[in-house]
Amino acid sequence: LQPRSTDDFNYASYHTLSEINSFIDALVQENPNLVSKIVIGQSYEGRPLNVLKFSTGANRPGIWIDTGIHSREWVTQASGTWFAKKIVTDYGRDAALTAILDSFDIFLEIVTNPDGFQFTHTSNRMWRKTRKPISGSLCVGVDPNRNWDAGFGGAGSSSSPCSETYRGPYAHSEPEVKAIVDFVKSHGNLKAFVSIHSYSQMLLYPYGYTKTPCKDQAELHEVAQRAVAALTSLYGTKYEYGSIINVIYQASGGTIDWTYNQGVKYSFTFELRDTGRYGFLLPANQIIPTAQETWLSLMVIMDHTKNNSY
């Protein structure tokens, strides 16, 4: 049974890929003047890489949000679905979001790694990587957060195809990554890029592949501090924040290092809620609180982006 509308969709439950795709189509159908679906490419197994575009005018700068590049992190795709509904609900009602959407487009890729996500629903709930076979190996898939051309192949990624952090044979070898690369380049005017993962309660900015601070570190740190304060204000969830290499570990070939080097100054990555009991298996009753608190920090980042043109 499919929900008749996005009002009937159960945001407090996990959903399959087809259910999320149906949700995307329904949201577009219900909000034709605000939301459209663009397909930025195909996954290795031929699935469409769907991106929701929220737009109120032409030729706007853009803000990118992606959820679920690591397929087993189900709370991220679930949060992305909630964000999509939140945007259409709040536009015209919430002054801050309305102001953002009156000057920026928001792009939201809810299922960034659809092959992996489908695999977690059908074959292996613990699958993290893409599903592209590796030539000369029995192991399958690449860690799409080590596959970007930013310190690619350096420390903090693995050259072993069987590793969960296998970087892939070359940068942007994964169609799911290459599609975003092509989109970012062709758009040419993205001002913020937020990639959402779970779990360990962190808000991070570049760099991961080098200890050299990025040139905007002071500003990004201040934004992260405010974003985390907003997040914590709702349920008291404590986050750490800082550069990837300082707060968590050295990671080469990461998403936001690449976007930052492409000139997207406001590049951030989240690690969502950790209850300390469930890891990647966050109970579904945690989806909405997680999405709600994350949304507050997303609003800080988007609002700062709006107010600080560059």
């Binding site: 570990y249 009991r277 469930y278 890891g279």
Partner: protein, 93 residues
Amino acid sequence: KETFVGHQVLRITAKNEAEIVLLKELSQLEHLELDFWREPIDESLPVDVRVPFHSLQPVRSFLAYNEIHYDIMIEDLQDLLDTEQQEMMSSRA
């Protein structure tokens, strides 16, 4: 469909750099088929690792021998996955 009966997820709290080094050595033992959900990086961060049933005994022995503290975060992974599936099914219904 791959099942995870008897798999446990351990939350390990290293108290110093020496224990982190030991945990990194543990992570290199491929025959144990460990899945590090949170890798050993620094003693300020917990380490979460999924341990298949067949590796529970050697991993626990390793941790005990080296006096590295851990808690069982997930007692039986498959139980949790079954619950998750049931919740999805009931949500659809």
